[in-house]
């Protein structure tokens, strides 16, 4: 809580609830992400952290609660004391301010790395092919993938694909980027290159919400760590607080279990 108040809020989640087939996945979640902050959401599988992330850009529609990004309510507009759902084209516009990076990369396999990055700017920002390609090359250079710009996804390693996916998100100049377990599908030796790109982004002041199992990354880069379990935020605080002196028993159990696993595998 201490650090969140220092920055202007970029993403605010209030009272988010979501259930799938009578299974309550999110039971009322409030989180605030300050401008330029990196928030890491950790927690056991099934704790609802990925669903929460997907609620931010309305890939999942919350059953209740609101998402506010840079002051604007996602997916709704306030009319006569009610929140009225906006049209598809407005939600598309809102989503452009929120980048997303997926666990399984989801690059478009029929397009080259460059085309993957240039496609959306070209389609929605009205850029010419030349302008869009220039923008795409600039973003690929940021993730050190410019040399492979003409490669298709199948010709790239998982780490390279994920870096292209990050460039694709960056090309829309988002105000915040959501990372959904960005390194979970990678071979261990490829995790580092992706985390490095994310560290650089955090250092540049990009606002980021990261669902991750990489405790080391959370410890080093997070401005704030959120521990979720059973569809609720159990504890939130600075990395030192969460990893050093967790207040809740469940947090403590999770941290020691994960630390144990990391020690065993490393």
């Amino acid at each position: 809580m201490s650090t969140a108040t220092s920055a202007q809020p970029m993403v605010q989640l209030g009272g988010i609830r979501k259930s799938f087939h009578h299974l309550d996945v999110l039971k009322g979640v409030d989180i605030e992400v300050g401008n330029g902050q990196t928030i890491c959401i950790i927690g056991p599988s099934g704790s609802g952290k990925s669903t929460l992330l997907r609620c931010i850009n309305h890939l999942e529609l919350p059953d209740a609660g609101v998402v506010v990004v840079d002051g604007e309510v996602m997916g709704y507009t306030e009319k006569k004391g009610r929140l009225v759902a906006v049209r598809a084209k407005d939600i598309d516009r809102q989503r452009r301010t929120v980048g997303m990076v997926f666990q399984r990369f989801n690059l478009f396999p029929h397009l080259t790395a460059l085309e993957n990055v240039a496609l959306t700017p070209r389609q929605v920002l009205g850029l010419s092919r030349k302008e869009a390609n220039a923008l795409a090359e600039e973003q690929l250079a940021r993730v050190d993938m410019l040399s492979r710009k003409d490669a298709y996804a199948r010709q790239l390693s998982g780490g390279q694909q994920q870096r292209v996916a990050i460039a694709r998100a960056l090309a829309m100049k988002p105000k915040v980027i959501l990372f959904d377990e960005p390194t979970s599908a990678l071979d261990p030796e490829l995790v580092g290159e992706v985390l490095q790109v994310m560290k650089d982004l955090a250092a540049e002041g990009m606002t980021m919400v990261v669902v991750t199992h990489e405790m080391q990354f959370a410890r080093e880069c997070a401005s704030e760590v959120v521990f979720m379990d059973g569809g609720r935020v159990v504890e939130q605080g600075s990395p030192d607080e969460i990893f050093g002196s967790p207040r809740h028993e469940r947090t403590r159990a999770f941290i020691s279990r994960v630390a144990h696993e990391t020690a065993a595998s490393g």
């Binding site: 890939l59 598309d92 516009r93 929120v98 997303m100 399984r104 989801n106 929605v124 996916a165 829309m172």
Partner: protein
């Protein structure tokens, strides 16, 4: 020969491996499967073919007449009509198929039921019946009217050609719709999520993400329909449209060389359908260039070999 060839024995180079048994086993020659049944069944089928060909060669057919009519003006004219009909119906059928598939997959219950109903009707009734119904539209609606703008006698509008185009396109569209639906549904859901997250509008997502990935698995189906339509166009002869079949009939009604003319047009149908197959091969290659879907079978490989040989042949000349 190759199937029974013996591979040369192996030798263990690593001196640290001292197992005598392993060394002896590694030194044994390898013998592959001999496949005697392939040779036997192949010989049997060739014998059967020779018998059939010989029977036809000796039968009561004037083969010189088959050759003589091959480049007859009326036959070539009919061939042109057949190809024209098939091309138009393939294109229209594909357009209809994509549209109907999108409606079928739509969340709008009205659109999706209309699409279901369309497929149900036109896939469930014979093409010949549909053709006759469209041709006889004038019996139901003597005149076609757009109030205040346009009016015409149905008979003048729905000519045999128009009736054939409408009937065959609509029927092909019903089949192709099902293929398109399958191809679209097979596109990974993560692709749609990535597009949504980028804020790519629905239309762009469909055009730039979904269809390009659905196409490789769709091309074989559309190619198949092009071939079916080349053949189905012969039905149009029933409503007095002189495509290839109709032209042959007009000739043999006069000279009674029925079987000869049927063989003549059979050759042209084979030529046309084979060329459609070649076109399909190139389309598949074009859409498969990023290798989203790679599917090759022995026939594709055979086609590729023939085409490569033709190309290198023309280059050499």
């Amino acid at each position: 020969m190759t199937s029974t060839a013996h591979a040369s024995p192996g030798e263990i180079a690593d001196p640290s491996i001292r197992s005598a048994r392993l060394a002896r086993l590694a030194s044994l020659p390898l013998k592959k499967h001999a496949h005697p049944w392939r040779w036997l069944s192949g010989a049997f089928i060739i014998a059967a073919l020779v018998f059939v060909v010989r029977a036809f060669a000796r039968g009561d057919i004037e083969w010189s007449e088959v050759a003589a009519y091959l480049f007859d003006d009326r036959i070539l004219e009919g061939l042109g009509q057949t190809v024209q009909l098939a091309v138009i119906c393939t294109l229209l059928g594909t357009a209809i198929g994509i549209g109907v598939a999108v409606m079928r997959l739509s969340r709008n219950p009205v659109a999706s039921s209309v699409a279901w109903f369309y497929v149900w009707i036109f896939r469930g009734t014979p093409d010949l019946l549909q053709l006759l119904l469209w041709f006889n539209l004038a019996l139901v609606f003597p005149t076609l009217t757009i109030p205040g703008v346009w009016e015409a006698r149905t008979i003048d509008v729905v000519t045999p050609f128009v009736a054939a185009v409408i009937a065959l396109s609509i029927s092909a569209g019903a089949y192709i719709a099902e293929n398109v639906r399958g191809a679209i549904a097979a596109v990974d859901h993560g692709q749609l999520e990535a597009a949504s997250a980028l804020g790519l509008p629905k239309r762009s997502t469909f055009r730039k993400i979904v269809m390009p990935q659905a196409m490789p698995s769709l091309i074989p189906a559309i190619g198949n329909h092009a071939i079916i339509l080349l053949k189905l166009s012969s039905l149009a002869s029933v409503i007095s449209y002189t495509e290839l079949m109709g032209s042959a009939q007009e000739i043999y009604y006069v000279n009674a060389r029925v079987v000869e003319l049927l063989f003549t047009i059979a050759i042209w149908y084979l030529v046309a359908t084979s060329l459609a197959g070649v076109l399909q091969y190139y389309l598949e290659k074009w859409y498969g260039r990023s290798n989203v879907v790679t599917r090759t079978n022995s026939l594709d490989r055979a086609t590729a070999r023939v085409l490569n040989r033709l190309r290198s042949g023309t280059k050499g000349a």
